[in-house]
């Protein structure tokens, strides 16, 4: 594919809220009719990727379902910062039960709606990466396997941020967390660990799986809307930077999300019935070093001098993703 740089100020770009686009191409957020599912007054940190991702994802799902939707939320930042009793930031029917059961609660809601003949009301279950890949994995896999009519959204910030930045099964190699500290001969998280939930979801051969980042919010909206056009189990995995846990500037949340994709470290793709159907090409390929350097969780890779070997191993992960998903030429291997 020929190299074609995108300039975001150009007329007709997909920048959020662009009023030069035709009505049907505009973002959900640019519409005055948006639901504000997650409205102001919550206590998320400045630059929180999860708050941003959840608002876009749920507003898009609300539009796709004509506001006929119920949400089950796992324990975690998103739950804590939105519902300190007696306040709530949710404008949608919302339930929080436990850390590990949001998929099962979603299943229960879907079963209740089926028994009442109200399949017009759709169900979204959501969790952070801990509530998805670790403690919530059993109920999530069960929900996938039974093909329950639930869209599960994982907001992945790559560690247990709510409890103070501990390592999860989604923490990337070399990343410093409170339980994989930057000490010893192999600082940060070990290589060769962690699980890839989008691929595991695909192995269940559910109707729809997609990944997205908060850098490309229109893409996230599109994927949520598409997910709502399917019935059965669906999974969307959204990369959401956490300034606190990543040690990054709040103003860098969008930039880092984009860099995660542009390095190849976070492949953005869609899959139906277990097969990849589309990938988002890397526009300007970046070396992983540029993505790692602004994050304090990787600072041991650059001080006192660059740890070229470890950076090289991370680059190899990105290169493998690029080749596996065909991120440069749209041709997965």
């Amino acid at each position: 594919m020929p190299f074609q740089p995108i300039k975001f100020y150009q007329t007709g770009s997909f920048v959020v809220g662009n009023r030069l686009l035709s009505e049907d191409q505009r973002s959900v957020q640019s519409s005055q009719a948006r639901t504000n599912s997650l409205t102001l007054g919550h206590r998320a940190c400045q630059g929180c990727g999860e708050a941003l991702g959840a608002r876009y994802a749920l507003d898009a799902a609300m539009r796709a379902t004509d506001n006929q939707m119920v949400v089950a939320n796992a324990t975690g930042c998103l739950e804590v910062f939105t519902t300190p009793f007696p306040e709530t930031s949710w404008q949608i029917p919302w339930i929080h039960s436990l850390f590990g059961n949001s998929a099962a609660v979603g299943t229960g809601i879907a079963a209740a709606l089926r028994s009442k003949g109200r399949q017009d009301i759709r169900v979204v279950a959501q969790a952070g990466d801990g509530g998805t890949v670790d403690i919530g994995f059993g109920p999530l896999s069960g929900m996938f396997e039974r093909n329950d009519d639930v869209l599960f959204i994982c907001y992945d910030n790559e560690a247990y941020m709510n409890t103070g930045v501990q390592r999860s099964g989604a923490t990337p190699p070399a990343a410093r967390t409170a339980t994989t500290d930057a000490v010893g001969p192999h600082p940060g998280e070990d290589f060769g660990k962690g699980k890839n939930l989008p691929l595991i979801a695909m192995a269940h051969e559910i109707p729809y799986v997609a990944t997205a980042t908060v850098a490309e919010l229109r893409d996230l909206e599109y994927k949520v809307e598409k997910a709502m056009s399917f019935h059965g189990a669906r999974y969307i995995h959204v990369l959401v930077p956490c300034p606190l846990g990543w040690g990054s500037a709040p103003s860098d949340t969008i930039r880092l999300s984009r860099m995660a994709k542009e390095t190849g470290l976070f492949p953005v793709f869609e899959a139906e019935g277990g097969e990849v159907t589309s990938v988002s090409n890397i526009r300007h390929q970046l070396p992983v070093e540029e993505y790692l350097r602004p994050q304090r969780r990787y600072q041991h890779l650059f001080r006192p001098q660059p740890d070229t070997e470890t950076i090289g191993r991370i680059q190899a992960i990105a290169d493998k993703n690029i080749s596996r998903f065909g991120l440069l030429n749209g041709e997965p291997k």
Partner: protein
């Protein structure tokens, strides 16, 4: 209609007659026959408008029931032993959220060593979770109590656990009088939840509550258990009108009129107690039996008056707390307390509220003046309570619970040493 039927089949029929809308199950002996029968009922179409979900664990079973109940569906599951322990986090959660789920607990021992046979260790492990716990003495009880449990749970917004002894009841074939659908429909109206997940009227369920209000939440839960005691008496009346027999009561009494010795048990052992009482009565021993059906809430006043004339109470415990003793005898001993010193429960420091020197001193002062109740919640925020109870009373779809709670608060006088 009288039938010779296995306990599990009788319970499955009773649950079916109660028209549940979501049933979820994970296999564990000895409850499996119940959910097997229910799965056939759903799949064959005998039980309409009901979803049967085969889940991947007990934790998911109760979590699915939580979601279904919160979405306004009458929800049921069954478990035992290890299964109950695997779902215990959700057991507490269902009670905290006030979801009227009904669950059969086919009582079974907890390993190690692994053992599939009956005792009450499982029920005791969740004694403090906030569920209403009923114990069936016979399979007639077990069938009746399930229909009863849905009614009780939904009237109070509290989950109900129906305990029936594993194998001894679940697998025993006995004569059971199963009611007709018309009778059950007359007794058990469709579930009309106080609040549920409704896009037309969005609510947030399961908010985070800090030290400023957690004690009040627990206090209201405690009041609701007190309310259950009066509800049980009232629902008993209605049940006997419709079905011609009393299912629950707080306990059954047998030859208690002049008993010096009373044997107490829960579950199927009560029948054996009665036989032994007959034997001993023939030998001239003044003995009676009390079979406790309502374990939580604990009907302390009724038990106190039933046992007050006796000299010895033998509690036949089907569970044991290592390092302490029998849980049921401890409850009964606490109920019968009369001698010095008086022991007061001062419930304090729940959910992060500080136990301050000033509050402790005020409780001590109240005790020294003889003004401290046997159970007191320390530092209750009366205005918050009043607000919450008023909310319950006025909210859309509300039952009379808010008003009843207000009455209980009124009659119990000011709580807490301030």
């Amino acid at each position: 209609m009288l039938e010779q039927i296995e306990g599990s089949q009788a319970v499955a029929r009773a649950v079916r007659l109660s028209r549940p809308e979501v049933i979820c199950a994970y296999p564990i002996s000895p409850q499996t026959h119940i959910v097997e029968a229910l799965s056939v009922a759903v799949k064959s179409g005998a039980l309409e408008h009901c979803e049967f979900v085969n889940v991947e664990s007990e934790f998911a079973a109760l979590s699915v029931a939580i979601g279904a109940s919160a979405a306004g569906a009458r929800s049921y599951t069954a478990t035992a032993s290890q299964g109950l322990l695997y779902m215990i986090e959700a057991v507490y959660n269902a009670a905290g959220l006030g979801l009227p789920i009904v669950m059969t607990l086919a009582n079974r021992a907890i390993g190690a060593p692994i053992n599939i046979w009956n005792d009450h260790s499982d029920a005791m492990a969740v004694r403090d979770a906030g569920w209403i716990q009923l114990f069936a003495e016979t399979n007639q009880d077990a069938a009746d109590l399930h229909i009863y449990a849905f009614r009780l749970a939904e009237q109070l917004s509290v989950p109900v656990m129906v305990n029936m002894d594993g194998f001894i009841l679940t697998h025993a074939t006995e004569r059971v009088d199963l009611p007709t659908q018309e009778q059950v429909d007359a007794f058990l109206p469709p579930y009309a939840p106080r609040t549920y997940l409704d896009p037309a009227d969005p609510v947030s369920i399961g908010a985070m509550v800090g030290p400023e209000a957690f004690t009040e939440v627990r206090y209201l839960a405690s009041l609701r258990q007190q309310e259950a005691l009066s509800a049980i008496e009232q629902i008993d009346e209605e049940f006997s009108e419709v079905f011609g027999r009393r299912p629950c009561g707080f306990f059954s009494s047998y030859r208690m009129e002049d008993a010096e010795i009373v044997a107490v048990a829960m579950g199927s052992a009560v029948g054996t107690l009665k036989d032994a009482v007959d034997d001993m009565r023939e030998q001239g021993v003044r003995v009676g039996a009390l079979g406790l059906r309502t374990f939580r809430p604990f009907p302390a006043d009724a038990i106190r008056s039933a046992l007050s004339g006796s000299r010895r109470v033998l509690v036949f415990e089907r569970a044991h707390s290592p390092g302490f003793g029998g849980q049921l005898s401890a409850d009964i001993a606490a109920t019968m307390r009369s001698a010095e010193p008086t022991v007061h429960s001062v419930v304090s420091g729940l959910g992060g509220r500080p136990v301050t020197r000033l509050s402790v001193a005020s409780a001590i002062q109240a005790a020294s003046k003889g003004e401290l109740g046997l159970e007191t919640f320390l530092d209750l925020d009366e205005s918050l309570l009043k607000h919450e109870v008023t909310e319950l009373g006025t909210a859309r779809r509300s039952s009379a619970t808010g008003g009843t709670l207000a009455q209980i608060i009124e009659s119990s006088g000011p709580q807490g040493a301030r």
